[in-house]
């Protein structure tokens, strides 16, 4: 849950990267950490296991400066994607303000994408949240593999699989080289701040 201090004109919100194991959530954060140095306000914290799997979460604090008279601070988190870390995902998701669902474009990961989105929906429900109402953006990652003749899903197919009902903004991306990473985050932040404005009327006209 965002911390909105209307007296000191400060907002602190939480954005969580969700998605199946090995889809590129941590790679998104690493790219942001490397590229948006001005906005990054501290070290990126990653706790991973053997094989670079995220064990607990990754954390990256950012500051967007003043927007409509408010100082905006953002905490970016990733969840562990592996199925067995269900309870950790719930913990990290707690208090989320905006979500980026990172889907893997590899054909072999089609079912895992759907499973993970269902898992997200279930976890949000447990927290009394509705996936159709929470600020959410989809990212179709690993598009760079199109050049390797690997079996990749078409973006249209991913839209049908994941976004047919949600109808949220979606971005093709390649987190390893940064394509689409900034656009995904920017859109999620805009949706999140708009959502928070509806709730708290924080923005000065």
């Amino acid at each position: 849950m965002a911390v909105v201090n209307l007296k000191s004109r400060e907002i602190e919100c939480k954005i969580v990267y969700y998605g199946p194991g090995r889809c590129g959530k941590t790679t998104n954060l690493e790219y942001i950490h490397r590229t948006y140095k001005k906005q990054v306000r501290g070290e990126m914290i990653s706790i991973d296991t053997e094989g670079d799997r995220t064990l607990f979460f990754d954390f990256l604090p950012m500051g967007l400066g003043k927007i409509k008279g408010c100082d905006i601070k953002v905490q970016l988190y990733t969840v562990p994607g592996q199925v067995q870390y269900r309870s950790t995902r719930q913990l990290v998701l707690n208090g989320v303000d905006g979500l980026i669902f990172v889907a893997d474009s590899l054909k072999v990961r089609r079912e895992k994408n759907v499973e993970s989105l269902k898992d997200l929906n279930g976890n949000l429900k447990k927290m009394g949240m509705n996936i159709f109402r929470v600020p959410l953006v989809l990212q179709y990652n690993k598009r760079d593999l199109e050049n390797t003749a690997m079996p990749l899903m078409k973006v249209e197919q991913m839209e049908r699989d994941l976004n047919r009902q949600l109808r949220v903004p979606s971005f093709p991306a390649s987190a390893v080289n940064g394509q689409g990473v900034g656009a995904t985050l920017t859109r999620c932040l805009k949706l999140t701040l708009k959502h928070l404005h509806k709730e708290f009327q924080w923005a000065k006209e």
């Binding site: 194991g21 090995r22 914290i45 706790i47 296991t49 053997e50 094989g51 670079d52 799997r53 064990l55 607990f56 954390f59 905490q75 592996q82 067995q84 309870s87 950790t88 913990l91 990290v92 707690n94 590899l106 072999v108 990961r109 690993k142 593999l145 390797t148 003749a149 690997m150 079996p151």
Partner: protein
């Protein structure tokens, strides 16, 4: 596309999956390659290829299983522990100190039990939080420490004047429940009440040193006559509890409930001595991290200096 080219492409695909950390997908693709090669006897160097593919499959299978295996959460840096406390704790504004309780629970949830326990124990001074903090020590503790550690913690609370009798009674029930869920059903309650069917004990509780290991001659079962060395899970006075891994079921089969065993060697940090034990109970653990293993309770009947 000819067969050789198809195989080459499938191997490239499998290697890409491996490079992406998608070990199961790599494994599946290599299995398809293996099947394809096995079916085509005309392939040049077929046996050598199959051997290499088979080695790769084995390597991937092992790595995938290792990743799937449950592992204990690593102890993270102090900075990360502070972050966990700060980011994931919750607070009840109506209860003083509840933020600290929330922070300690967060640490425990993330597997930082040692630090969490310190924080829980620091809350024993708060009347509103003491019992809840102790309850959490038991609740999370069973995932990270032995049942014996929890029994010892409870004994310490019994001697701690900050705990009321009512709190201790409720915590005793909580401990019993936690032990039950972990499959060490009889241990705590057996300590509380005597089994009338047991023989007379020559050894007094006060006489028994802390034992870390015992050597038992097996009176029956497939390993009859052999001597096995077993670690003590926990000890309360003359009662000791052992956890026998399921792969050592032969040991369990060789020991009958209600029987006495002579010629037992007891190892304590300060002495080695011999004596006899009585098999109180043995039971398969039905749930928790040790599910499938066996819990066995022994009572020390007699000890002789050695």
């Amino acid at each position: 596309m000819n067969l050789a080219e198809k195989i080459r492409q499938m191997i490239r695909e499998a290697e890409l999956y491996r490079g992406q950390g998608l070990l199961n997908e790599a494994l599946d693709t290599y299995r398809k390659v293996e099947e394809l090669i096995s079916k085509n006897r005309k392939i040049k160097n077929r046996d050598s290829l199959l051997e290499k593919i088979s080695a790769r499959i084995e390597q991937l299978r092992t790595s995938a299983e290792n990743l799937k295996a449950p592992r204990n959460a690593p102890e993270v840096s102090e900075q990360t522990q502070e972050l966990i406390k700060e980011m994931f704790s919750f607070d009840d504004p109506g209860v003083k100190g509840s933020g600290s309780l929330g922070a300690a629970i967060s640490l425990a949830e993330f597997g930082q039990y040692t630090k969490a326990r310190e924080e829980f124990e620091a809350l024993f001074d708060y009347n509103d939080l003491r019992q809840e903090a102790a309850r959490n020590i038991l609740h999370y503790g069973i995932r990270f420490v032995s049942a014996g550690d929890l029994v010892r913690a409870y004994r310490q609370w019994q001697a701690d004047s900050r705990f009321t009798q009512k709190e201790l009674e409720e915590l005793g029930k909580e401990l019993q429940q936690v032990l039950n869920e972990a499959g060490v059903k009889e241990d705590f309650s057996a300590y509380e009440s005597e089994n009338p069917g047991e023989p007379d004990f020559e050894a007094e509780d006060d006489d028994i040193l802390d034992i870390s290991e015992i050597r038992l001659p097996l009176p029956g079962g497939p390993q009859k006559g052999e001597k096995v060395e077993l670690d003590i899970n926990f000890q309360t006075g003359r009662q000791i509890n052992l956890i026998i891994p399921k792969k050592q079921k032969d040991i369990i089969d060789g020991l009958e409930e209600g029987s006495s065993i002579e010629g037992v060697i007891f190892y304590s940090p300060v002495a080695i001595f011999s004596g006899s034990v009585y098999v109180v109970s043995k039971k398969e653990i039905g749930s928790g991290p040790k599910q499938g293993d066996y819990s066995m309770n022994l009572k020390i009947l007699r000890t002789d200096s050695k």
